[in-house]
Symmetry: C2
Subunit: 552 residues, 2 copies
Amino acid sequence: MTQRPNVLWIMADQLRYDYLSCYGHPHLHTPHLDALAARGVRFDNAYVQSPVCGPSRMSAYTGRYVRSHGSTWNSMPLRVGEPTLGDHLREVGARAVLVGKTHMAADLEGMAWLGIDPESFIGVRVSECGFEPFERDDGLHPDSHRQKWSAYDDYLEAHGYSSDNPWEDFANSGLGDDGELMSAWLLKNSRLPANVPEEHSETAYMTKRAMDFMREASSDPNGGPWVCHLSYIKPHWPYIVPAPYHDMYDARHVIAPVRSEDEQQTDHPLIRAYLDSRVCKSFARDHVREHVIPAYMGLIKQLDDNLGRLFAWMEETGLADNTIIAFTSDHGDYMGDHWMGDKDFYHQQAVKVPLIIYDPRPEADSTRGTVSDALVEQIDLTPTFMQAIGCPPKPWVIEGRDLTPILHGKDGFSRNYVISEHDYHWSEMARALNQPQEDAHTVMIFDGRWKYIRCEGFRPVLFDLESDPGELIDLGASDTPEHEAVRARMSDALLSWSRQHHTRITATPEMLARQTKSAETGVLIGFWDEAEYEAATGKRFDSLTPVGRPDR
Amino acid sequence: MTQRPNVLWIMADQLRYDYLSCYGHPHLHTPHLDALAARGVRFDNAYVQSPVCGPSRMSAYTGRYVRSHGSTWNSMPLRVGEPTLGDHLREVGARAVLVGKTHMAADLEGMAWLGIDPESFIGVRVSECGFEPFERDDGLHPDSHRQKWSAYDDYLEAHGYSSDNPWEDFANSGLGDDGELMSAWLLKNSRLPANVPEEHSETAYMTKRAMDFMREASSDPNGGPWVCHLSYIKPHWPYIVPAPYHDMYDARHVIAPVRSEDEQQTDHPLIRAYLDSRVCKSFARDHVREHVIPAYMGLIKQLDDNLGRLFAWMEETGLADNTIIAFTSDHGDYMGDHWMGDKDFYHQQAVKVPLIIYDPRPEADSTRGTVSDALVEQIDLTPTFMQAIGCPPKPWVIEGRDLTPILHGKDGFSRNYVISEHDYHWSEMARALNQPQEDAHTVMIFDGRWKYIRCEGFRPVLFDLESDPGELIDLGASDTPEHEAVRARMSDALLSWSRQHHTRITATPEMLARQTKSAETGVLIGFWDEAEYEAATGKRFDSLTPVGRPDR
């Protein structure tokens, strides 16, 4: 084992925390991820910084909150100059490599202002959120003017799956009784087998591409340590999975929804608007849940099998000896819980994610197979990987906290609350409420018991997860003194957090040291005379006079 | 008059709002600025976004709050990619030109990451806060390893004032009885005449340089509209002024200090630490006030005379017909009020500044000589100048508000409160209180009556300017229900403001429109079948299928 490990950072998309057997799912067995948890630490309180792909990922890749990087919604470009994990790794001669999805949009306007060619070496890196793109594929290639042909489309064609949109017609459709295409954009088609064999599906393809990268890096003597971000597209919609996974589960395996009739009677205008939105109304129907969830489970089962293959290959090749493996997701999926669909709010089903970290180093031996209940944020991964690879910490940029103490069974990690943010300016809810787009945003602060959600323009939402772990009772308008006090305390914590520095990214330690030593610069403020100066500083007043001329 | 006016944006440094005769000073007569006010609008409620040079100026030049641009303290580099007034002007073929001080520090690390040579055309612009540097001089050239030789030093040498540090030895020193140098870094020397004739002083030099620029631009047929930022170094310390201004005022002209014995008994740890700091203890002494204030007044009188010369020249040359003239300051100076010196807190003496805008266009005829009591922020100037020069508004970047409606006597400007921020991590106060540097910051929110100051780690400070215009009674710990309610309301307003978008600068209207039309992208979420899709959209489900292949 060399001194600096590699990191394989696996991210599933839209995977709920509770749909793995190691997280307690009663019917969905995921032995390979369970085995990873048995070799590493499983985090039972990990939260994403936004319950949607784009902003959650920009936080993950920068180690910074959404308020800080400003990419608040999918396809909102991450501004030029926002530092990423890749930038920090490169400073110490390590690589950050992408295989799969980032949801990054390039800031072409910002690049133009700074004279950066998007096709240049630096421009590509800026466009790819700091990663070297070994393979970039966001996995959504609908039939539209915005569809982009991908390497995966080429791959499908090369294997005989040729059409105008192989991604849609093979990987994301089924076939009807007469052989007609049945699009997985429609939920009713979720139970069909995808029109592609498993070995050529998106999940299998991306697994193969990660192996390609690791093989290539291993044979390169200058391959250096790397973080490979293996970023799967599934189990994100379109919900459809190849045989035999399409048929492994049925309504008997669908766990009961977490919801109550009272929730339907909410007086909160924003939650009301959520419940009235199409995707929530759709997943509030039992037949939708019972039809779609088996496909979702199949996709997860398929992912676990692919990871089993990948982990076995890493064992065989010896890569596992020197590679930290982290597994997580960018957010969850309501699947009808709380009468909601998709993920755009803050119940546990949306913001809590699985997080498993296997660290091969002997320092981690004492924690193998343990479960941590520490309050953890997705932004903690970037500083954890930086620490493993030998980047000095950068608290003036990185807002996440290094998890290494937890992995190595030591004290030193703490956090009082987790934060998640959401910008719904684009949404049905904003339109239904006539909410100005600049005010259409919410933020969650959760301290492990109380979950407080500030909804700009509306009253807050509050859940007590101790007395109400299902989050079925909204205490946001409760007038009991305890709840009033909790709301005031959480609101103040939110203000403290909001007021922290988060754009002061040029305040390096050198800069701060230089500032605190300003008395040595010769700028003297408020001294009456020589005696005052000498009494305060212990120096003669004229000692500042230089011998020669200053630099021109 | 052409359609697009030029803008001469004059900024004094450390000029209190109440040290001009048009703002009510009883002894300091500033007829030229008074005449400007008589031709334009005088703003009686203008506030800076930080009570110190660097962050205040970075806000002024970006039109954005300190929380947003992140340059929270002097010499904290403004990050690469932070858009400035100059960037916006260039998009419409106009120029932003600097003559004088910005206090900008270049983000060399950020430039290196993006491969930008600081000496390149774009690099110079990034280094100069978006301005073309016609003349850059921050006006502090103390004897130290950080002293930088300036064009003004060359100028002094060329006029026979030669030394190792002409700035210090001539412009910022006096002479003792035996001809020895008496440094103006020591307050006791403030009443000496500066060791340079008025015509070669910093103020006169910078006035001349502004004329040089305007002459050059006028003779250039492609000179285009411009904003010239004429940024004077004075009346900022070192407090010393050439004859005859050094002798125009004495203790009889010093207005009584605004302070009370009760203020000295404060129980607020941060204010206590301020009062115990050297500069505050120094200016709390009457003999210091009475000695320094006449020099400060002389500097202001000299500035007014220079501006008189400049305005007369602009009239003669016809430039005044087509040039908006704005006059303001980057912050004030306590001068012993509230027992404080310098400017680092939020009383009116520190955060309220003079602001006069003369607009030559006929649309402004109805407002000439009027006084506006609108709550105005320094960041409002950037959008006002953008509007005058024909830049489309950019609310996704610019946080200030266009003042044109006020200048043109129309409705349309409103603001409920002003904000100012301060980062004191570097200070004596932080060290005395052992305050962690990341928590050593404060923020003020003022609604025109109530001034609420949040002090991280300490109780808030509250003033009621209606019943206590002198801000002598701190209501931050008052337990009367009215004050408790006001504090809760102001804290909530601060949280709302803090939670607004401020880094979402890539959210252009095109980007937002594209997002709200996402239904047209072919991404379909939550539709059960064709009938549901068709009922919701009025389109046939297969209508999304493109005719040909998407772009590769």
